[in-house]
Amino acid sequence: MTHKHDEHNERDDSIQTEGLNLWYGTFQALHDIHLRIRSRMITSLIGPSGCGKTTLLRCFNRINERFGYVRTEGSIRVLGKNIYDPDVSLSELRKSIGMVFQRPNPLPISIRENVLFGLRIHSERGDFTRAMQDEMVESALRDVQLWDDVKDQLKKRAVHLSLEQQQKLCIARLLPLKPQVILMDEPCSALDAEGTEQIELLLEQLSEKYTIVIVTHNMGQARRVSHECIFMLHGRMIEHDSTFTIFNNPKNPETDQYVSGHYG
């Protein structure tokens, strides 16, 4: 999948961090992270448990701040804009940076309302006609290949779907907001092999329109789906390169040991 890995132009970056440090209370979870995540590609964050992958992912939409006692230093630019600038609205930021979780978490409302939920919280009543809503629901569900499965049961509660379908729905509900970046925190770890394959196929399609950052514990998955990989250890970024290089010719010996299964 290296066909996209041509020369690196700064304007192609969706996310850039400079000297990013993060503390939970007195524990420093991230150390001096400098990274660039390229647009319309899939970038995997890999590394052993507790290395700071999820923490880093949660920095990109500033959701970490909801957990209290979190202190951040350094800058994070998303699409060229520093997200710590005072004029940044968290609501708008999170609208354009979607998040998908480890455990599918559809809301306890109907399938249709799940897809429209983001739209509802970001618009006034009456901004969209019924027909526009129907169209958005269909297009979002088609984009995640869920439409044919659920088109006759849009009013059914989403929690009755299978886990794989729930996870697809969780991706679909981000799409009406037209996000720039989709963050995924081990999106397949609750799914079986077939569900994982389905989501991975979907990721590849979505990467044509969206920048995707995915945290994964599954080496095979990182290898299969991502164009670039970032290897992290003890809260530091050890190596960032094309997936091919990380897995076949890593520069850092620790990366080499991790990807060849010596630890983690």
């Binding site: 939409n61 959701i63 909801r66 209290g68 968290l90 609501s91 708008e92 930021l93 999170r94 609208k95 979607g98 998040m99 979780f101 455990r103 978490n105 559809p106 809301l107 306890p108 409302i109 939920f117 983001g118 509802r120 919280i121 970001h122 969780c170 509900r173 981000l174 907001l177």
Partner: protein
Amino acid sequence: MFSSTPREKRRRKIERIAAVTCFLFTMLLVVPVLAILTYLVVRAWPALSLDFILENPQNLMQSGGIWAPLVGTFCLVWLTLAISAPIGILAGIYLNEYARDNWFTRVVSLAVVNLAGVPSIVHALFGFGAFVLTLGMGKSLLAASCTMSVMTLPVIITSTREALAAVPISFRMACWNMGATRWQTIRTIVLPNSMSGILTGVILQISRTAGETAPILFTGVVFYAPVAESGFASILPYSVDQPFMAMSMHLFTLMTQVRGVSEEMQYATAVALVGLILLISGGAIGLRTWLRNHRRW
């Protein structure tokens, strides 16, 4: 192979004893409830009639019915809930959804717990001082309802918090990560999914409000205040600035304060009180079920 050892036989015996004991103690709980209800109804039977419900007490309580106290208790319950439910639910939402874990929140929580432990007669004194005298409400339905509200608040706050805490955090994560504010999350997802738990807490306070005598004793209830027996005025006869009659107080009066009241009438009053509580609670449970099945708001 696979045959039971002496030790295993002993374990099985103990298992049997434990199961039977637990069952017996459950029955021990059920039997008195049924016994009380049956006994009350049987003793009250000769006096029970529609007239008994719909007439004012007459002839120094020796005849007539219970319409005035019945309506009084009904008004007291609804006014109390109208005051304490919004305050309690909003406070519960603040404490569970907004408040950070700091000393202030801990002090508030501690205050709530301690308020729940205050005896009802102390609430009565407080209500008399605060509402009747200081706020100048006089002995009135409003003062009594305020006093009852203070008494029922802690339970409503606590049950609201528990109901909210039972909503999985993953729902909130989903909402917040799409840019929803806390209030949008609460209104669209958290409240609809905790409403039945919250209402359960409120419903439990109905019987408490209807049954307590002490808190209304100094604050609004009176020995005798007849009301209209027909027409619109018989349904909402008390204005909030007037003293009123209440079932719990009336029962106490019939039993200890006036002579010559037949036992049937005392028992019939008790049956009517229990019936009123069941009626209001039943209505509230119906509302809860309806909300649970129509969670689209």
